[in-house]
Symmetry: C2
Subunit: 328 residues, 2 copies
């Protein structure tokens, strides 16, 4: 572990867009050491006025949909236009495997070498809610370092999408054509969150299938009510190889951004996300303190067993545990 | 307010299927008076061994879909077969209006007069989570009083469906044909929870539209992956007037029940629901205690304002509030 820098060194480094220091500040955020947490908060507070100026894009899709290749092509499209792009990841499974979806250095080989791009793997500790909060903070640091587009990548497993959706301005769902829709494992709730569905791998003779899938997804989207923002989710086809559709996807994001800025939903969404973040953090802290309490954790297994078998009323079990907690 | 009965009088009355006493016990459960709460828990504990023997059915659908008339027809179909049916309701909107979707006595006029049926309006206080917990407890009392089918009705607004889904064995979604699917306001996430979709009002020349809607919903359901229980959600058409399809709906529920009992998912689901109920109750209590704390509630508005405007980091605001809470 590297020696800690001073608070000022972190702050100045981030504001000067020094990547080495940005990375070390993110490591601070991901740390569970109390001293690191305090330092991280000082840094975040200092850079707070310089945050909030990016477009935050969540990208999801099942494994095999080509998320990395898409993000590589999409990221390069943006860097070619001179935009600074940061790619972050949320991977709850890495909690278990201690691996990370972006840990593999061979992924996004080209984008990783773009001077305007910055790629950061998923934090690997802290529980799902913890990972989400760390990603939110990382996003702020990246914004303070001048990144204009922040991509938050997630794997298609349900809970992490909801978390990512709660921290981004635009939610992009990648889908495959012709893989048997029922095999894609995308939950309806995730489709509903999408601001745009992009069908990947529309190349090498796959074009017709992609067009058919496009119609099917458009129909599926039409089954559900429009939201009140005035935005109608689009379905587009794209290819990371031929770069077909990449520009159109960006244009759709820009159009969305313009609409939301004009009608006030952009600011409203961010305000709501901030309040939700605060509330999440409070609830998480309360629950952690409760479940980590020695008497609680000592009795939990047995009580859960009784509840699970229907021998004890859940509410009674809960009150017993709460009494244990408040009494000591 | 009637005088309280003794614990024994409540218990004996419920086990003897005395409706008057059952109603008074439910009133006890809905009460927020500490003495009532203690009494209610004593009663629940005593009858606990007699609970769990019903089929719990959640029924939802947007206003206008004909929920009451459907439940009336469906309930009468069951009582004609000698089954004891209880109808409960969850209505979060009644929190605001202090009304209740089942409060109107003219609803379910016929079912309400069936000796084998019992209808209870939604509790009107306690917050959404509180209402859910009270309904769970009411369900147990009804089971102890010998009801074999418990119907939990909800209005189509998203959050309450998830709560109901978390406390029933079978989730039935009612849909209209030809009303313009996009107008029905049913969220994808709710469709995903459905074990069965029933298209209502399949009568008076509406049959063709209903059949078309059936195909559309079947296709929509096929877009999504099968679950691991081996159950494939069906789409059926029905009419509360002609009673067409009512029998088939009950047969589908029985088939589901049989499958789930045989493959163990019935018990597994109930165990999980009990553990989730305990966890819900704990989290709710922790949050209530926090947000009702005098220092917390005194400072909350101002801090939320700062967070909402981006002037204060959500995590800092949260920590400030948590310190206020733990310090006193």
């Amino acid at each position: 572990m590297l020696k800690r820098l001073t608070t000022k060194e972190y702050i100045d480094g981030i504001l000067a867009a020094n990547r080495m220091i940005l990375s070390r500040a993110i490591t601070l955020i991901e740390s569970n050491l109390p001293a690191d947490k305090i330092l991280a908060r000082e840094v975040l507070n200092a850079v707070l006025p310089k945050t909030g100026n990016s477009i935050r894009i969540g990208i999801t899709g099942v494994p095999g949909v080509g998320k990395s290749t898409f993000i590589e092509a999409f990221g390069q499209f943006l860097t070619k236009q001179g935009k600074k792009v940061a790619v972050l990841a949320i991977d709850p499974s890495s909690q278990i495997s201690k691996g990370s979806i972006l840990g593999d250095k061979t992924r996004m080989e080209k984008l990783v070498n773009e001077p305007l791009a910055y790629i950061r793997p998923s934090p690997t500790s802290g529980g799902l809610g913890g990972v989400a909060n760390k990603t939110r903070e990382t996003m702020l640091l990246c914004e303070a370092a001048g990144f204009e587009v922040i991509i938050v990548e997630t794997v298609g497993v349900g809970q992490s999408e909801t978390l990512v959706h709660g921290m981004v301005d635009f939610f992009l769902l990648l889908m495959l054509a012709g893989a048997g829709d029922e095999l894609q494992g995308i939950k309806k709730g995730i489709m509903e969150m999408a601001d745009l569905i992009a069908i990947t791998k529309t190349d090498s003779g796959n074009e017709l299938q992609a067009d058919l899938a496009k119609v099917a997804y458009q129909n599926a989207l039409h089954l559900f009510p429009p939201n009140q923002t005035g935005w109608y989710p689009e379905v587009l086809t794209c290819s990371a190889i031929t770069e077909k559709g990449i520009r159109e996807i960006w244009q759709s994001i820009e159009k969305h951004s313009l609409l939301f800025t004009e009608n006030g939903f952009f600011q409203q969404k961010r305000s709501e996300q901030n309040l939700a973040w605060m509330d999440d953090f409070i609830k998480q802290s309360l629950e952690e303190k409760f479940y980590q309490h020695p008497s609680v954790s000592h009795h939990l297994k047995n009580i859960q067993q009784e509840v699970s078998e229907g021998k004890k009323l859940p509410i009674n079990a809960a009150i017993e545990m709460l009494n244990l907690f408040y009494q000591s």
